[in-house]
Amino acid sequence: MDWTLWVEWFIKALVVIFAILTGFAYLTLYERRALARIQTRIGPNRAGPQGLLQPIADALKLFFKEEFTPARADKVLFVLAPVMTVVPAMIIAAVIPFGTQFTLPFLNRPVTLYVADINVGVIYLTAIASIAVYGIVLAGWSSNNKYALLGGMRSSAQMISYEIALGICFVIAILLGNSMSLLKIVEAQKDIWFAVIQPVGALIFMITTLAEVNRAPFDMPEAEQELAAGYHSEYSGMKFALFFMAEYEKMIVISMIAATLYFGGYREFWFLKDTWFSVDQHWWLGPIYLLLKVIVLLFFMIWIRATWPRIRYDRLMAFGWKVLLPLSLALVFITALGILLADQFGAIYIWTIPVLSIIAGLVTTLLTNLSLRRKVAHA
């Protein structure tokens, strides 16, 4: 193995990490501005033009804040917990493809636009996502504070529950892409996005990712009026900043995963396939397309936070286990059936998947609505 390969890997890893860190800084600004716009406020616009220097000002403020460690806290784990939250959020991006490849002009060597293309990429995602629970649980426990502990408990229960439906949505993308490599899944969406073939799967994926990153309306671990600030009640200064960072990094990364699995990843819109705008013609369009898709998906997350109130905790668990899990299992069945039909009788039968899954989604919505209504009638 020649040393230039190591240099290439090192540089690519650094670029990905810096991209996510910059993304985090500007996502905070993006969220504050977008929320302000939705709530007819102005938002932060003082530091720099349009508030563009606001993230830097925030970072400086957090550096100079006092760090406080509770006397009865478990010191080792108290320091380790924020680190264990941030690290999975970063390393999960290693398998996401940002584009195809290009040739370096002078060295004449091809450089691929992803850190690693392993044939078990999707399982890597689930493995790292399941590791991410530890940081939050340990933060709650090591603070030695009952609100923090309850927050940690809630988050672990919630993340484990929603991980199952999330994993099943991964399975749908694996079935449609016929591979576990994210690169092959993206290339399989050359002709049409998986979100068009399996719209309900994409929707469930988006819902479960909201629960996985503890965003509104599933932000039970940090429900202010019940738990103070949940698992990070006792954290201040840079340690709090790390939790904050992890949440926003996870938002970015999970949007990238959603874009990769269901919205064509770095590929153009399918109707631009053979035009100038295709990634096959110009490799540098790949990261730009991915960035555009991530920005749109992030806007949906912010929009949801601005629109919906928090869901009650028991409803949240019931929704995960009794609605999302059976529905996603049904979707796997429908997807497999559609692929089988398309194999046997011709490609047109692939359209049984969206038809049947939309019917399944509507039936589920109807039944959920009915069961909720009956409860109201009882009371």
């Binding site: 078990v120 399982i123 689930t126 493995a127 399941s130 629970v133 649980v137 426990w141």
Partner: protein, 169 residues
């Protein structure tokens, strides 16, 4: 080969240290975390052996799902720290005898039966790939696979039935 060997040595040391830490720490949360570290090193072993699928499955099943539940239970019950020196009287002699038997067996296998070891056949390229695992699970071992899943389901239903409050009373 040499890089693999150095990696193996370091990983083995970490794995043993983590296992010892899990046994010796008096705090159940630390024990659980040491066990997670141990599972992590075992996963890296699998990657060294060219089986990334099993490595990822190891991380997501053991480290990600089972140990999180362990931690959950430990924290929920509030039994983090053991009371000092509450060992069972018959535990030490029994452990001594069992360890002796294990050492004897290992000595026998290494010294007496060493002639039996031949060249190890090289695995094929697709060994341990998701396709190979899937083919094996759903073709050759379909019945055991289905029975295992039914057993797990029954165990889960049983646990739910046991913990459910009796609504009749």
């Amino acid at each position: 080969m040499t890089i693999d060997f150095i990696l193996f040595l370091i990983l083995a040391l970490v794995a043993i240290a983590a296992a010892l830490g899990m046994l010796l720490s008096r705090n159940a949360v630390y024990s659980a975390l040491f066990l997670v570290l141990n599972f992590g090193t075992v996963a890296v072993f699998y990657i060294l052996l060219n089986a990334p699928f099993i490595a990822m499955a190891q991380v997501s099943v053991y480290a990600g799902a089972i140990m999180v539940l362990f931690l959950f239970v430990i924290m929920l019950l509030g039994t983090e720290t053991l009371p000092p020196s509450k060992s069972l009287p018959w535990q030490r002699p029994l452990a001594f005898i069992l360890a002796l038997i294990l050492a004897g067996e290992a000595t026998y296998l290494l010294l007496v039966r060493k002639a039996a070891s031949g060249p190890i056949p090289q695995p094929v390229d697709t060994f341990g790939s998701p396709q190979a695992v899937g083919q094996a699970l759903f073709n050759s071992y379909l019945l055991p696979f289905e029975i295992t899943s039914v057993l797990l389901l029954v165990a889960m239903v049983g646990a739910i039935v046991l913990t459910q409050k009796d609504k009749g009373k």
